[in-house]
């Protein structure tokens, strides 16, 4: 009788634990929206989302985050242009070209790359990439280009990991069939296997977009952080994430609400991207 009670009791504990994730997501959504939406209402949806001017200390203050939305999209797009080709090709190398002996060292290296804290990437960007870009292209060096390169590097492990498993999941018969028809090793991989791994690779890109848009500390250190419309890839930008971290420390009243509202916009972006990712993932597996 006692054992039966304990069995039931623990089952309830397991069940409650399992509900923690659900409760967490509900709490996060509730606190973000409940604290962000009033600010958006006061500023006005249109003025907030499409306003070109962010000057919280002006009288009257102005809270338009359009430059930051554009900034986030620019650096994310730049990161994808740089990170996706290199990442997918590296994944092809790991899955189809490299010897098992070398693979033993390269796979942990990719994991290590994913494990390096973003603050280290940011510091590296600050002391190496920023001066490099300044010397080559002029300007201050803190720019869309610098942020794109750094984010491109940072999303590599995400792209490589998912693309590699997508390529490995393609049945070998695709490859053998192509080779039997006289195609070369490279041809068979790129034209027979890669199309079959398409949705896996696509989901790695979507996840990479999520990582790039949400990245904060590294971007703050190299992007310049000017809150105005970027005009040119060598100009500084401020992303949505940077806007929150830079000003949250001293913001009060409507300014603070506007920053939380910035977080809400970022959160909505991420929820959309997550949704896309789960749809794609369901297609793969």
């Amino acid at each position: 009788m006692k054992r039966k009670f304990l069995d039931k009791f623990m089952e309830i504990i397991f069940f409650i634990s399992a509900c923690v994730s659900i409760i967490s997501v509900i709490l996060i959504c509730y606190f973000m929206f409940a604290n962000g939406i009033p600010g958006i209402k006061k500023i006005g949806v249109f003025n907030f989302l499409f306003g070109l001017d962010w000057s919280p200390s002006n009288i009257p203050p102005s809270f338009g985050i359009f430059p930051m939305i554009v900034g986030s999209i620019y650096v994310t797009f730049g990161a994808i242009i740089i990170g996706v080709p290199i990442g997918v090709l590296t994944a092809i190398y790991l899955a189809k070209f490299c010897s098992p002996r070398l693979y033993k060292y390269l796979k942990p290296a990719v994991n290590l790359m994913a494990g390096i804290p973003s603050i280290i990437y940011g510091f590296f960007g600050l002391v190496v990439l920023v001066p490099l870009i300044r010397n080559i292209f002029g300007g201050t060096g803190s720019s869309i280009l610098t942020a794109s390169i750094l984010l491109g590097i940072m999303i590599l492990p995400t792209i490589i990991g998912l693309s590699e498993s997508a390529i490995r999941a393609v049945p070998n018969s695709y490859y053998e069939g192509a080779v039997a028809l006289g195609a070369t090793h490279e041809y068979s991989i790129v034209f027979a296997m890669l199309p079959a791994a398409k949705s896996g690779i696509l989901s790695s890109i979507v996840l990479g977009i999520g990582r790039a848009i949400g990245e904060t500390m590294a971007v703050i250190m190299v992007a310049g952080n000017q809150a105005r419309m970027p005009n040119g890839i060598l100009k500084g930008v401020r992303t949505l994430t940077a806007n929150i971290v830079i000003e949250m420390g001293y913001a009060a009243d409507l300014h603070r609400e506007a920053l939380i509202a910035t977080g809400v916009v970022l959160f909505v972006f991420i929820l959309i991207i997550n949704g896309l990712f789960s749809i794609l993932k369901r297609k793969v597996f």
Partner: protein
């Protein structure tokens, strides 16, 4: 070999070379620039503006890691047990838990930081404190631990469970005496990954644990972890040498954690072959 084949091969080789040299350059650069700046004074007990010691940050990082794991591990492991051992496949609730775990793992750390600020720091009145930071991080690493537990439990062969049931053991006893011990290495590798996340986290901690550079007196005092220390040093711009030194310490910790987790993974694979 056709021209196109050659081009593809060149591109693949070039990309792989580029990826791994970037990693090599980053690690090499930080170590070369940083190691000369590692001095005993960096590890002094007290942080002062003349001597920006990272010792308090190390202590805080240890406390933060321990506390976050203490909260997150039982919940994460129990969730894994519920999903694999109790829940029926295709259950609506299971689907919801999967979906929310996936959502949690995609939320960027700055959103966790904002949520922590609004919920733990402000609404629950914990203020900028180790506890607020650890609670925020616990939610952040929850999906990692759940997924590792799920995978580890799935890898436990079913005949172990059947044998235990056949001997008359109850479900709970089977889980704790047979299934969990077998799955421990797998769960452990997830926990190590989580430690890596906690040690490297910055954005979620700036506005939950705060940035006070002193050893915390209790769970409600504000303090900074190594990663936050690193951020403060490099953004103030006054202590570049110390920032290099801190970067080395942080990097070595992360490399150590990664080495440990791949060691366990290797042991696991060998164990599977024997079993």
């Amino acid at each position: 070999m056709t021209k196109l084949s050659k081009l593809i091969k060149t591109l693949v080789m070039l990309s792989a070379f580029l990826t791994f040299s970037i990693l090599f350059i980053i690690i090499g650069y930080i170590l070369m620039k940083g190691i000369p700046h590692i001095k005993p004074s960096l590890f002094a007990l007290e942080y002062t503006t003349e001597n920006v010691s990272l010792f308090p940050a190390i202590i805080t990082t240890l406390i933060m890691t321990f506390l976050s794991l203490l909260i997150s591990c039982p919940i994460g492991i129990f969730t894994g047990i519920f999903l694999i051992e109790y829940a029926r496949k295709g259950n609506k609730l299971v689907e919801t838990i999967r979906l929310t775990t996936e959502t949690l793992s995609g939320i960027p750390s700055i959103v966790y930081g904002l949520f922590g600020l609004l919920f733990f720091v402000t609404s629950l009145g914990m203020g900028f404190s180790i506890l607020s930071g650890a609670l925020t991080l616990s939610i952040m690493i929850l999906p990692l631990i759940i997924r590792a537990t799920e995978e580890a439990l799935l890898a436990v062969p079913n005949n172990l469970r059947e044998a235990s049931f056949a001997l008359g053991a109850g479900k709970l006893r089977t889980i704790f005496k047979i299934v969990l011990p077998t799955a421990i290495p797998g769960i452990f590798s997830g926990i190590i990954l989580a430690i890596g996340r906690i040690v490297g986290e910055t954005a979620a901690l700036v506005y939950t644990a705060g940035t006070v550079p002193q050893i915390p007196k209790n769970l409600f005092s504000s303090s900074r972890t190594l990663a936050i220390h690193m951020y403060s040093l490099s953004s103030e711009g006054l202590y570049t040498n110390e920032a290099y030194g801190t970067a080395v310490v942080l990097l070595l910790v992360v490399i150590g954690i990664n080495g440990l987790s791949s060691l366990i993974a290797k042991k696991l694979r060998k164990g599977e072959l024997n079993g």
